[in-house]
Symmetry: C2
Subunit: 177 residues, 2 copies
Amino acid sequence: LRTAVFLYPRFSEYEISVALSVLRQGGREIVTVGLNAAPVIGESGLTCIPTCTLDQVGTNDVDSLVLPGCDGIGHLRNESRLFDFIRSVARQGAIIAAISSAPFLLAKAGVLNAHRYTIGFTREQRDFVGVFDENNYVDAPLVVDRNILTAKGAYFIDFGITLGKMLKLDFDQRWYR
Amino acid sequence: LRTAVFLYPRFSEYEISVALSVLRQGGREIVTVGLNAAPVIGESGLTCIPTCTLDQVGTNDVDSLVLPGCDGIGHLRNESRLFDFIRSVARQGAIIAAISSAPFLLAKAGVLNAHRYTIGFTREQRDFVGVFDENNYVDAPLVVDRNILTAKGAYFIDFGITLGKMLKLDFDQRWYR
């Protein structure tokens, strides 16, 4: 079973960099997933080739999911296949880790209804997009509620370390601070 | 004038992730450089396509250079074109930022002779490779000596922020902590 890491256009490289390193340290197999077969250019300009496309990755092969934040995540709002995928792995009880703006994708997919979460959006931004349950919002750097980890972008080191602990990986935190 | 960022096989993604983000925030144009035209797989498994190859990048177009650490950097020890490139930009007074094991590349290229530096190697490792001047080694998280910035890997946030300051970029540090 592998960890799927989504790479969409303008994904934030640094926000998932420590998570990726922790997964590697822990000997986890990852699969990077693109919306299609095109190379993906991250927020800071790194051009990446995903391992496979969204249509190729089987939800049964995946027990965990990492969603990077994204510069202007609204451009993903009509990617219904992405939301189907998120719903599908959530139903299987996968560990899902979403940072910065990425909890928007979870809320939009309908998997944040019964989980406490945080996100790097202001109250006004959360109200504007209209998919968040304000009762479950927690103004914290990082929130773990059962299988779902959410974090604000600046806490990307804690995000990676906490994901590693949720997956019970063996790794050396001193690499990162 | 652009910042060249080297991507060699097994480069550490997280070690340069904050530097890349600071460069982007500051509106710097970057060029990622591969040893050849092949996609490059980082230490954590991210597959990247460099903007150009070492033979294509002109040293005159570059005023700064970022060198990521690398899992087993010894595999680069015979890349004479890489050392030629480093010497060439150093002679032009470029700002050079090397993290973790990457100061090895600077020492090997002969540009660390008159600069204080740090590196993520033990004394035994430094002695073993035989290219370091021990008198200039500083056991610090981060060392800036004129145009050369060196840092230990765990200080990758400070590395990125210090590079941004050396390049006089305008950026928001709160993105990273």
